[in-house]
Structure formats: C-alpha cells, structure tokens
Symmetry: C2
Subunit: 498 residues, 2 copies
C-alpha cells in the first residue's frame, strides 16, 4: 500500500550518464532546482536586457560622437571645479560655498553653447536680483521687531514666489527667462529665510554669487572652446539637411508611383527610408524652435553674426512643413487602393517625373544656398523651369480626355459605347488627377520656400556668386596695386638717396 502510494505520488526521473550508469533525479530537489532554473533565466534575461541597453547606448555614441565629447566635457568641468575643494588656498577663499560652483556646473552645462549661455546668464542675473531684493526685505523685516519679522519674511516669500511663478506662464518671459525666474524664487527664498538665522548674511550672499560666477564662466569657457556645438549652426544644418530629405522623398515618392510600383515594395526597403524623409520635416518643429531660442544667446561664431536672423529659419521650417503635408498626401496616393490605370500613368509619367525632378532640384539648390550661405545664380532659372514643367503638366492634363475617347490602339479590350468608356475612366482618372494636382500644389509651396530663403539671404546679407568671384579677383588687383605702390615708394626712396 505504502509502495503503491509512493509510486503514484511521484514519477521517478532517471538520467543516463556518459559512463553508462544511470542516476535517479531526486524528486524532492524539484522545487529548488526549478527556482534555480527560474533564477538563472531571470539573471540571463537581465543580462540580455542590460547588454541590449549598452549596445543601444554604444550605437548612439557611434552615431554622434559629439554626444560622447559633451559627456567628457561635463566630466572635465566638474573635475576642474572640484579643485576648489582639493586645493587648500582656493578652499579658504570661498569655503563651503564652493558647493555652489559644483551645483552651477551640473545644472547649467548644456549640450549647445547657446543653451549654456542662456542658463548661465539667467542664473547669474536671477541670483543677483533676488539677492538684492532679499536684502531689502531682510532689512525691513529686521527693523520691524522680533514679532513681525517672520510675518514679513513669510508674506514676502509667498508674494514674490507666486508672482515669479506666474511670470513663467507668460510666453515672452517663458521663452527667455524661464530658468531665471526659477532661480529668482530659489535664491530669494533661501536668502530671505536664512537671513533669519545666518548672521553673516552679506558675506554668504557675496561668496555665493562669486562661486556661481566662477561656475558659469567655467561652463561657458568649456562649451565655447572645446569642440563647441553651436545651437545656431545646428539649426542651420538641420534646416538644410531637412530640405535635402524633403527633396529626396519627393523624388522617391514620384519615382515609386510611376516606375517601380510594386516591384520594390517587398524586395528592397532602402528607398522606403529615403521616401520617409518628409517625416523628419514634420516632426522637427520643436527642435527648430528650441534651437532658434538658444541661438540668439550666442555670440558671433563661424559664418554667423551676432544678429543673424534666426527667426527667419523658423519661417523657412514652417513653409517646409506646409510642403511636407502635401508630400504626405502624395505618399498616401501610392498606398491608396484605387490606383490609376497603367495607360494614364504612362501618359503622365514623363511629365510628372520632370516636375518632380525640377521641384526637387529647386529645393536642393535652395538647400545649397543655405549650406554655402551664397546666393545661387541659377535659382531663378530653376524656378522658371519648374513653373514651365508645371504648365506642361497642366497641358498634359488637358489632353487626358482625348485618351478617354475610344482609343482602340491603346487598350483594344474596351468595346463598349463611348459614353460608358468615358464614364468609367474618369473615375479611374481620379487618383492620377489628384496626384497631379498635389504635384502642382507642392510646386507652389516650394515657391513659398524659395521666397522665405530669399528673405533670409536678404536679412543675413548672403553674398552672390558673382560678388564672390569679384572678391576673389580683388586681392590679385590689390596685390598688383600694392606692388606698384611699393615700386613707387622704392623709386622715391632711391630718388631721395640721390
């Protein structure tokens, strides 16, 4: 009975080892080994996850090494600022307030120069202003006696913190002084409230402000002089790169519609990625705005003056987005279920390809104008060519109805009456007409982009190619004139000696 019970209670597991002996696996060890296996699985999963995470981080670093450089810059700035603690003479100078320098570096150091300068100035001015105000309040409070002191201090903290917080909701303040307002609240509360306890208030405030200035100057120096990333330049590059993407995706879209329709869909995904470039344009609004916000804090750098018209880039971005909306609609035409019949597509393919290649070359030329910051001599010609291609497209559309009237040669299978043929085919024409009218709309939006870029060229005083060439010639003539002058001077000297 007992034996039978044992047999039913557990199935015996046996494992045959390499030397021929067999070993029974004790069923009691089951749960423990199961836990062990589970634990191993868990750990393996965790290791895999961490590994994947690290691989992704590695990819990010390889994609944009400047991010890695930024991290090293932060590390460096922090280590330098730590010297205040390690070096006794420096430590004696600022004392425990050295921690404010460390704090400043951590909080203020940003990826781009503009953002760092913006935060630095906000921090310095916010702290200074709040410090002075807090002194005033503290003085008034201390004059009004022991009883009223906490009352006045508390009320002033409440009032000023509320007001400053509210100011952060006002768009013009938020755009420039958001961080400054926060620092204002922070410093004001700290100084006013500590004023109640700390005796050497003035010394403290003075040391704090000077350490903050040390921290911010260090940050600004490091961001500006070690592999600087300028917000303005980034914006400049972003806009021109997005233009290229837009041009490529317009080209790719029209190509796919007319040439490789269906062929490339499964086999080769490469053109798809190119095709979706317009999505970058659609999604980069926030980036553009923050870059433009920071760019105006930056000093003159590279090819950009201090008063470079960064706001104009936002307008260009908006006009590019408005063009990208149309490209998106065009892209949907490819996926749309009711495709146009082959013969109409063939009829329009050449002219559509011409419009798209002209349009994209206009965009690329404009992108080049921005990239090189030189006025293009050929842009007017290209725009005119695009316009004439659009005109041709409209003319071709005029001829479509002729294709509809019984064209036995083109599709001999249609034997119906004229009316039905034409009725059926107008419906079939809808996709191709939509496609064409979107192309026309896109070309008109491209003209808006061109106008915006011309405005930028005006505002930023881009040089024309012709001007540029004249300048390149100028130094030679100058040199000739100079050498002539030199000769003259030497002759004069020779004459004097005589």
């Amino acid at each position: 009975m007992a034996h039978q019970e044992k047999a039913t209670s557990g199935v015996e597991w046996r494992i045959t080892l390499g030397d021929g002996s067999s070993k029974s696996l004790v069923p009691d060890a089951g749960p423990i080994s199961r836990i062990w296996i589970g634990l191993k699985g868990l750990i393996a999963g965790l290791v895999l996850k961490v590994w994947k995470f690290l691989m992704r981080a590695w990819d990010i670093g390889v994609d944009d090494p400047r991010k890695v450089i930024h991290c090293l810059k932060v590390g460096m700035a922090l280590t330098v600022v730590s010297l205040f603690y390690f070096m006794r003479p420096l430590y004696k100078g600022v004392g425990g307030n050295a921690m404010w320098a460390i704090m400043t570096v951590v909080v203020v150091f940003e990826n781009t120069v503009g953002a760092t300068i913006c935060k630095s100035l906000n921090r310095v001015f916010g702290t200074t202003l709040a410090g002075f105000l807090a002194f005033g309040v503290h003085w008034v409070a201390s004059q009004s006696g022991q009883e009223f002191e906490p009352l006045i201090t508390g009320a002033s903290v409440f009032l000023l913190a509320s007001t400053a917080t509210f100011s952060r909701f006002i768009p013009s303040v938020k755009a420039r002084f958001d961080y400054g307002a926060m620092i204002f609240i922070l410093t004001f509360s700290l100084v006013t409230v500590s004023g109640y306890r700390v005796d050497k208030l003035f010394d403290m405030a003075h040391q704090r402000i000077s350490t903050i200035i040390i921290g911010t100057s260090l940050c600004i120096l490091v961001t500006m002089f070690i592999c600087p990333i300028w917000a303005g330049e980034e914006l400049h590059i972003l806009i021109s790169r997005n233009m290229d993407k837009l041009a490529n995706s317009l080209d790719g879209c029209v190509d796919e519609h007319f040439n490789y329709n269906g062929e490339l869909k499964d086999s080769d995904k490469q053109p798809d990625k190119k095709l979706l470039g317009y999505k970058c344009v659609l999604s980069s609004k926030a980036t553009e705005e923050s870059m433009a916000k920071f760019a105006r804090w930056e000093p003159a750098h590279g090819r950009f003056n201090f008063k470079h018209p960064w706001q104009q880039y936002l307008k260009i971005g908006a006009s590019m987005r408005s063009c990208a909306y149309c490209v998106e609609a065009l892209n949907r035409c490819i996926d749309s279920e009711n495709q146009a019949p082959e013969f109409t597509k063939k009829h329009l393919s050449n002219i559509c390809l011409k419009v798209s290649s002209n349009s994209s070359s206009v965009i690329k030329e404009v992108a080049k104008t921005i990239k090189t910051m030189k006025r293009s001599p050929s842009i007017d010609f290209l725009v005119e060519e695009m316009r004439s291609a659009v005109q041709d497209l409209q003319n071709e559309l005029n001829f479509l109805p002729k294709l509809l009237s019984p064209p036995e040669v083109l599709h001999p299978e249609s034997k119906e009456t004229e009316e039905t043929t034409s009725t059926t085919h107008l419906l079939e024409l809808i996709p191709v007409v939509t496609f064409a009218s979107l192309m026309i709309e896109i070309s008109s939006r491209i003209q808006a982009i061109v106008e915006m870029v011309e405005e930028l060229a005006e505002l930023a005083e881009f040089k024309g190619e012709a001007q540029e060439k004249a300048k390149q010639n100028q130094p030679n003539t100058n040199r000739i004139v100079a050498s002539q002058l030199n000769d003259d001077q030497q002759t004069m000297k020779a004459l004097e000696r005589v």
Copy 2:
C-alpha cells in the same frame, strides 16, 4: 553788434499765458528741456510697455484661473517649508540643511501632479543612489592614503558624471529619468567632494535626504489635494477637444468651399477661427507627448485607473494629425486660384456637404466616446452612413463627364465643338476632383481614428451604453434580492423566537 549776434544765435520763444501776460521761454533751457521731454517720452513708453505686459498677464490669468491657483500653491508650499527656519524646534532637527527642503520645493513643484511626482521620485531616488555610491567611493578613497584620495575622488567624479550625462541621451532614460540623472550627478559630486572636507559626512547625507523627502512629500501633497491638475485628465480633455476642433474645421472648410465662398472672406472673420481648428491638432504633438509622459506617474484618479493606456492617446493623436494634414490640403483648395466652375460645384455641393457632415459627426461621436468614456451604440451606424455617403460621392463623380458633354441648358454660352468643351472642362474639373478625393481620403483616415479609439475603449474597458443601463437596473434587482433576504432573515428570527 552784440544785439545782432544774440538775435541770430537764438530764436526767442514766447508763450501767452491764461491771464494775458506773455512769458519768454529761455532758449538756454532748450537742450535740458529736450532731454526732459525725451526722458518723459521714454518713461511714458516704458510705463505703456509695462502696462501692456501686465494686461497680457491679466488675460492669461483670466483665461485659465488654474494657473493663478498653481502660483498660490507654490507660494503656500514655500511658506510652509520656511517654517523650518522660523520654528526653533524644527530648525534644531534639521539645521542648516533645511535649505534643501526649500530648494526641493522650488525645483520640484510643477503644474501637473504627474510632473511633480515624476520629479519628486527622480530627486529622491537619484539622491539616495548617488549618496550610497559616494559613500562607497569615499570609503575606498580614504583607505588609499592621503596622496591617492583626491586622485580617486576626482577620477570617480569624472567617470560617473560623464556616464550619467551620456545616459541622458538614451531615449528610454531621457523619457523617465532625465531629471534623476542630473540629480545623481549633482549629489554624487557634492557628497564625494565634500567628503574630503566635511567630517560628519553620514549625518549630513542623512539630514539632506530626509529634508528632500520632507520637501517632496509636501509638494506631492499640495499638488494632489489642493485643486489638482492631473496630466492624464488634461491629455484626455485635450484629445477630445482637438477632435471637436477637427470636426468643426472640416465642416467649416467644406461649407466655405461650397456655400459662402467669397462672401464671408472680408466681412465676418468668426468662421475663419473655427476653420483653423485643425492647426491646433497639428501643433499639439509636443504637449500630448509630455502629458502622456507625466500621466503614467500618476496614481488612479477620477475615472482613470493606475494602468490607464495613456500611450494609446498618442496613437489617437497621431491618427488625428494624419487627418489634419488632409484638412490642411482641403483648406488650401479654398484659397487656390483656379476655382472650379460654379455648375460643377453646384452638382457636387450637396453630396460633399453630406460627406463632410457625416464625417464630422463621426468625429464628434468619437470625441463624445472619449469624453464620456462610454462606448457609443451609434458609432457603427454613423461610420456606415459616412461610407455610403462616400460611395454616393464616387457615384456622383461618375456622372461628371456627362455634365461635360455639351450641356446647352446649363451654360448656353459654350458654342464650341464637343471636344474643346470637354478638354477645357476637365482642366476646370481638377480642383473639384481634388477636393472630392481629399474628402474621400479624409473619411478613410477618420476610420483609422475610429479604430484607434475602439482600441482605447478595449484597453481602458470603456462601458457600453447597454451595459451601463443593465448596471443601472442591477442595483434595483439586487435591492429586491437583498430585501427578500432581509425578509427571510426576519422570518427566521421570528421563528427562532417562537
């Protein structure tokens, strides 16, 4: 001579006063008075600017009183935390570290509950983790002798700060722990470096963490219990409000195209504002994303569970934007130069208006579904109606070519041959065909929105109207059953007594 000189040097200005006497204005006062006038102008301009700024601020406050409430909440939280300084027993407890509580409140207090909780948890965990790590590093450094201590400390600061900064570039970390990483760097640097000087390191760290916890708890309590603004609820409202805007602007757009074209353009700007509602949809991507980011930190509130599918709202937002792109293209059709001839517009106006009104009622119904969080019983019916309207529109487009074959009745002025008429008119048809095909595309994108919302209803377990009614009836039956049970128990008790 002298008199003459005086006469030429200055023109004498005289002013006749009220009592008849005249007074000469001394010419010497000229520059001073001019400066004075300039100064007055400057001051007046400044006052006007400040006044305008204040008026704008007032408008912002009136538009959204919750912003004012938020400011008062910040002021209150700061005043409460200042009590640590004012009250001697509390001050003795935490000492000078009370400033960390103030700092925490200033930095952590955000507009929405989710953002506050996110920042609070990030701050607490970042500080704790960094504190422990810094202790470890400090211990290792202190064991390795006077010479190596600054070296080890400096190297660890450099390494960890760089790594943590890099982690902020990784999207998954950035989305949730961006602030935590910054606080980690801050605390680690401060503790490691101060460890070199401050003796009672453990006490300091302990007090600092406890004051931070006090600050964050205060913030969380105040945001959650005094007029809370939930990021999740905001997102929910934003999405449903944007849907209504999209529906209105679709309706308005089609109305303007067919009915009031040109009439309302100059006289009445009211419908224009409604018309541009789709722009809100296009521009609210960043807001939606940040709201969804913060919403998942929020506990269950109101009608939302802890695991409410906030990510699904982003998908709905994306599908709405894809629909808004088309509305934008539709809107351009109104402004487009080559308008369709009146007779084709009249031919299509009824059916287009029907499609648009059906489409917008589908969007509005879906918006209602989200608003009430109840499945709509009529949505399938409405979608079906929209589909059939689209089918009708396609049929109507079929009949367009018939209008093109010499319709003497409709426009008797065309006396050309059939071919030219049809050629001319197909080109004229392009705008109306584009408009119609955009309408068809919009309706297909609306179906995508409906699918997304149905997915949301599935995930968030929205109740059906029918279910709801059944539930409303349920309590009555329950009550009847309960009262029956009650009766039975009373009968039993009565029997027991017997």
